[in-house]
Symmetry: C2
Subunit: 327 residues, 2 copies
């Protein structure tokens, strides 16, 4: 059974580094893995020094690993077009312009981006049977998580829509006894179909995230990041999503023991500060620290990624369904 | 005339540090300054070691400086209540529950957070006459910037609403010649009033951001941050908002020249990498680098903030309207 693994955390903490390293580690163990990035900066392409699109492609020189990059802006645009097309089939030609205008307005609102992204996530989760593991270099937060309550909202709309339709069909049928045309129209109602499909898609997403996914958070060893990590844990928990572990990135390396001078003092003092923050994480935050990753001299890519993968103490089997159900 | 100064950039780059240091610098020069934070982690309270609320309060031991913290979650809740109250006055009691339900649904959508925040920004921009400078530790992005196109959207709605009303009033008036009641109702139409007020508020926001505000971006010396900075510049530019300068934060300090060993080598190599990234910023990105701030041993707060303020080469007069118009 496929497992979805999400690496959340604020921008800049190193989600791409950790998720790429984890995906690499899974692939090296022989697990068929797909890594999905939603970073508009195309950071996965950077890490593997290869251009990816929104269709999965094999990562060169790495067996068992595919990668894809979802561009949220393009996705919002695609979503707009798709919605226009779907609705234009269902309204009279005279209404098309008006409907298009309304859809365009809806896509100008701040939430459109997240809605489009979530839709794409659901596509990936539904249609990637060839992979045993799908790794996301992000995790749903705030607005996107709220979309998980969409099925309940849609439920109410659908129920009321069905009720209203049934009322009018009853009227029609009483006026024309024996004519079942109105009921047939309702059975194939395209708007009801669309609402029902959306409801099912989001139900599937909620169910998948709750039963078949593992969440990790990436943090840095500073106070701000620790507070944000706690907030992210609480937020996920409020949607019944449990954080499996924390990966702490950007730890300062120690100087040699005999080293002295301004540089060595700076490093030792920083290591001491970060050690305190790490202790805070260990003591006050529930999910275990599953990785402590040192800052590299330059960006993590190419062969450096393998050394980071080795520093991850996330067991690649730890997130498999067996361990999930027994633990 | 008051100037609004925004410090944008991805989470974790150090917006709070730079904006607090800048606000401190303004205050020390005798400018009546307000710093506004929207960070849910209450980072401004942390920096000044003092609890702030969403009402401006004097920063202890610093003349001319007030601070306030807007909690976006609380703001979304407040916005929800406000909207419910305003509309409940305008619909029949039988409709109140249905309207409340619709408003609650709207507030479950991903954009509600940004909409509420933008509303609060507008309040602060409109109602803070006692300050000569208002510093925001964030900058509108993506969804929030899209709200600036709201006046045009509302314009269309209002026009059509007015047109529909006039049509029905004409009908009414023809049916009851001389009765001006329908026209009076339209003059005081609460929904039209509300739409018009919102349109004017957002027009004011767009106008203020374009003519009476300065935008700075905070970046870190790494490839990802540089790409994101370029994206943020482009995004702001697409709304006619120009970025005045870049503050580069988290620069690694150099070791002593005679230092040797693992620590010193790490620092020298990192300084070299960062120097390349800084050159990229200088060469490829238009707005000038106005600050280069070194990483401290621990979080920037208290007296460290003054030393950071000294490292800022943003002239506090640089953002005054005079310079804006002459430059």
């Amino acid at each position: 059974m496929r497992t979805h693994v999400f690496f959340g955390g604020k921008g800049g903490v190193g989600k791409t580094t950790v998720s790429s390293a984890y995906a690499l580690k899974c692939a090296r163990t022989g697990i068929d893995t797909l890594i999905v990035s939603t970073d508009p900066a195309h950071s996965i392409s950077d890490v593997f020094d290869q251009n990816f699109t929104d269709e999965p492609a094999a990562v060169e020189r790495v067996d068992n690993l595919d990668a894809m990059e979802i561009d949220p802006e393009a996705e919002t645009e695609r979503h707009l077009m798709e919605t226009k097309r779907a609705l234009s089939d269902q309204v009279s030609p005279a209404m098309v312009n008006e409907v298009d205008r309304q859809i365009e307005m809806a896509h100008q609102t701040p939430g459109a981006y997240e809605a489009a992204l979530m839709d794409r996530f659901i596509d990936v989760m539904r249609n990637s049977d060839e992979y045993d593991r799908i790794v996301f270099d992000t995790s749903p937060t705030g607005g996107t998580l709220r979309l998980l309550s969409l099925p309940d909202m849609l439920e109410g709309w659908i129920d009321r829509l069905v009720y209203k339709r049934e009322q009018s069909i009853d009227l029609y049928e009483r006026a024309a006894i024996g004519n079942e045309e109105p009921r047939r129209i309702m059975d194939g109602d395209p708007i009801l179909d669309r609402l029902t499909t959306r409801k099912e898609r989001f139900e599937f997403a909620g169910e998948t995230l709750r039963t078949n996914a593992a969440f990790f958070l990436v943090a840095n060893p500073d106070e701000l990041s620790i507070r944000e990590t706690q907030r992210a844990i609480d937020e996920l928990q409020s949607y019944d999503l449990e954080v499996r572990g924390l990966a702490v990135n950007r730890l300062t390396p120690e100087p040699d023991p005999n080293e002295n001078g301004r540089g060595a003092r700076f490093l030792r003092d920083r290591v001491a500060t970060e050690r305190e923050r790490l202790n805070e994480l260990h003591e006050n935050i529930d999910p275990p620290v599953v990785a402590e990753i040192q800052t590299r001299v330059s960006e993590v890519k190419g062969t450096i990624l393998d050394t980071v993968a080795e520093e991850l103490s996330i067991d690649v089997d730890q997130v498999s369904p067996d361990t999930v159900s027994s633990g």
